[in-house]
């Protein structure tokens, strides 16, 4: 956890108990008039510790440790894609933001003849959401008595995403690690029974290691993680062993709080969750603190909502996603084509634009500056009223591009009809459907 200026000052030469070091106090060599001034700059992250040649080793260690993130950043990588998780700073997204979306992995077994096909399907899966192309993150290969090494090799060849190697027997795990060479998989898992051998493998193959504790016993998990760390593996991921909603929520919440609120280094790592084929459990782990989520099946009808939920909850609340106000042309409109208006909340914009675009019908879409709110919210907050709508029409130059004076407004603001007509004399205002999904049909039947 970040130290204050005064806490840092206690570690600088001016506060030293060693007279030789203390002799340098306020020597200005760092470029600042006093050690205290330097400490303040360090706390504000505006200076670098290396500027002071006299800091003692122990102080240096403490300062470096305090600068480390409370939840370690862990990187896994496939042949063409990597994933970083951890480094989170808050319990609730409104406190700042959630930074690193959890990786969504699909599990295959080494006894499963179609493991490579599933891996390929995972790799090929992309879905468009508000203009972003989103995907899953990798495949977890589980040793279940088949040929683990061969399965890992086949999965790796079929899928350039990161892998999780699930094997608790060290010899099997090593076969997988060999097959995965050239990539950085997560090795799962070191438990009380096998941790020495697993730690050795993780160190030898330079891969992050998951530490598996007994169901929900966080003390045992923390101690085990500490032992593994002392054996030389720093990149750890924790698995508290919980597999149901209630005990997972408790364990994941407690681990996050321990890392962030208590600065408990022993558990300052990302967490891995196994959601089986339960979509509500997977969704819970997106909101509540997993870094890796392993699903038991690949099903687009399940993957798509989870990917969208993840994108939503990991949106920075300080930066609502907006599009620029103005005129948007859809399907090359001509002067007589329909004119619609909506707000600049990006989800609203994309819902409308996607509908019109996929209908193949040409149209002009005006986007009003509604401070990034949806139609209903903006209307309720007075950010999408007759005045703003009229201003958008007049200020965007749309009148020069079309040869009619008809404007379609969203059905949700039908009550504004009269006021808009007053603000825009000579215009015919049409009330469109409430939902974007009904727009194509509206345009086909009502425009002309």
């Amino acid at each position: 956890m970040a130290l204050t200026g005064l806490q840092i000052y206690k570690l600088l030469p001016a506060s030293s108990t060693n007279p030789e070091v203390k002799a340098h106090a306020n020597c200005k060599e760092c470029g600042y008039p006093t050690c205290l001034a330097f400490a303040m700059k360090l706390a504000a992250k505006q200076a670098d510790l290396s500027l002071c040649p006299y800091v003692e080793e122990e102080s240096k260690r403490q300062l470096e440790e305090s600068a480390a993130p409370p939840i370690r950043l862990i990187t896994v990588a496939g042949s063409a894609k990597k994933l970083e998780v951890g480094n989170e700073l808050v319990l609730h997204r409104h406190e700042k933001t959630f930074y690193h979306p959890p990786g969504l992995f699909v599990r295959v077994k080494d006894t499963q003849p179609d493991a490579a096909q599933v891996a390929k399907a995972v790799a090929d899966y992309t879905v468009d959401y508000v203009g972003m192309s989103l995907s899953l993150d990798g495949v977890a290969v589980e040793a279940a008595g088949g040929d683990f090494g061969a399965t890992v090799a086949a999965v790796k060849a079929a899928c350039p995403f990161p892998l999780i190697l699930m094997a608790t027997d060290p010899a099997t795990a090593e076969a997988g690690l060999k097959a995965a060479q050239g990539t950085t998989p997560l090795l799962w898992a070191a438990s009380a029974e096998n941790w020495q051998a697993m730690a050795q493998l993780a160190a030898q193959y330079k891969v992050p290691l998951a530490v598996l504790g007994p169901n929900g016993d966080l003390n045992a998990l923390a101690d085990l993680a500490e032992q593994v760390k002392n054996a030389g593996v720093e990149d750890l991921v924790l698995d508290p062993g919980t597999r149901d909603h209630a005990s997972s929520l408790a364990a994941f919440t407690q681990l996050r709080r321990l890392a962030l609120r208590k600065n408990e280094r022993k558990v300052g790592y990302p967490l891995i969750a196994f959601a089986g084929d339960d979509i509500t459990l997977a969704a819970q782990h997106i909101a509540k603190y997993a870094g890796f989520i392993v699903l038991d099946q690949f099903d687009p009808a399940m993957a798509y909502p989870l990917i969208v939920l993840r994108a939503n909850l990991f949106t920075d609340p300080q930066k609502p996603i907006q599009v620029l106000p103005g005129v948007y042309e859809i399907n090359h409109p001509g002067p007589s084509d329909p004119l619609m208006i909506t707000t600049n909340f990006s989800i609203t914009y994309f819902s409308v634009a996607n509908e019109v675009e996929s209908s193949g019908l040409p149209g002009w879409l005006l986007v009003a500056d509604a401070e990034g709110m949806s139609v209903l919210t903006a209307w309720a907050a007075g950010k999408f009223d007759a005045e703003r709508i009229a201003k958008t029409v007049k200020s965007t130059g749309i009148e020069q591009k079309i040869n009619h004076k008809r404007l379609i407004i969203p059905g949700h603001v039908a009550v504004l009809l009269g006021e808009i007509e007053e603000e825009l004399p000579g215009w015919e205002i049409n009330v469109g459907p409430r939902e974007a999904v009904d727009l194509p049909n509206y345009l086909k039947t009502r425009w002309g």
């Binding site: 409104h94 509500t280 989800i347």
Partner: protein, 316 residues
């Protein structure tokens, strides 16, 4: 090695308990009542506080089969949507805790009609009711005032009660022993303000449920999610005008998205339509429950079953 100590929040506040419905002994006709609220910690964190009542699930029924619901949703009720009384019975049989009766904005909607529909629903089910007007303030007033009088003593939840019409709705709730669903547009301060206005009219806080409004998965759910988390944290920190149970309508929000409506002409990556549509409602609801919802209004019986399974798994 010294053990690690699990950090527990020492919240000073508590969400109020609110009871919906009234049995014969209490002046109504409900077979049972439903109490929500009472939490002394964030959702389901039983290691540090009390969760005396699980979140309740309401099923939305309409006076007439709505013309804008996708076929998948109407078919799921197996013909019961043709008759509001049958629909309410089917909702109860499917395991709902509450029936949310909502009136369509249709030509036949009038005060006498609303009274008659309410009567029929009250006699078809023993569950407590939430009653929503057609969603246009003037019309809502007309319908809800009639409903309030007709259902005197039933401890109905009258909704929506918003800034525009709260005076009328609160007066009706006061006069006839009902509760209100206080809806504000996704904003912590607006929610609080509305609760204060309603309370200032003399409605006890134990008869207010707040409705912070939400968006569906993919359509702004993160705003509702964070507003609800902030409201609940404020409540636990002792801010009395946020210490109310929360009701949200994930069913309504989810079923107007394209993901839940469009069976064809969508990307293959969206997957099987039926599964995806139901997942959309389930995840919208489950996510809002994790941010503090005490009542979720759903539409599909399979969503009800799955959200219930999740709640049971969390309550343990």
């Amino acid at each position: 090695m010294p053990g690690i100590e699990v950090p527990k929040e020492k919240w000073s506040g508590k969400v109020r308990e609110v009871t919906l419905g009234a049995t014969a002994a209490e002046g109504g006709t409900r077979a049972r009542t439903v109490t929500v609220g009472g939490e002394t910690t964030l959702p389901f964190l039983k290691f540090e506080g009390e969760i005396p009542h699980p979140p309740a699930i309401a099923i939305e029924v309409r006076d007439q089969p709505p013309s804008d619901w996708p076929a998948l949703l109407l078919q799921a009720w197996d013909g019961a949507t043709q008759d509001v009384a049958e629909w309410a019975k089917a909702a109860e049989a499917a395991g709902a805790d509450l029936v949310a009766l909502r009136f369509n904005a249709s030509e036949q909607l009038s005060a006498p009609y609303a009274r008659q529909v309410l009567r029929r629903v009250l006699s078809a089910t023993g569950l407590p009711l939430v009653v929503f007007g057609p969603g246009q303030a003037d019309w809502d007033n007309e319908v809800l005032v009639a409903v309030a009088e007709e259902g005197k003593g039933e401890r109905l939840v009258l909704g929506v009660c918003e800034e525009k019409n709260y005076r009328t709705i609160v007066a009706a709730a006061l006069a006839h022993g009902h509760l209100v669903d206080a809806r504000a547009p996704m904003d912590v301060n607006l929610s609080k303000q509305l609760n204060i206005l309603i309370h200032d009219m003399g409605l006890p806080v134990e008869r207010i449920i707040m409705d912070p409004t939400t968006g569906a998965l993919g359509y702004g759910i993160e705003y509702g999610y964070s507003v609800m988390e902030r409201l609940r944290i404020a409540a636990l920190q002792g801010d009395s005008m946020t210490q109310l149970p929360m009701l949200v309508t994930p069913g309504e929000e989810a079923w107007r998205t394209k993901e839940a409506r469009a069976a064809e002409g969508v990307p293959a990556a969206w997957g099987d339509y039926v599964k995806r549509a139901i997942n959309w409602e389930v995840l919208t609801a489950s996510t809002l429950i994790h941010s503090g919802a005490d009542i979720v209004v759903l539409r599909h019986p399979e969503s009800l079953r799955r959200v219930r399974a999740m709640i049971n798994a969390l309550i343990g």
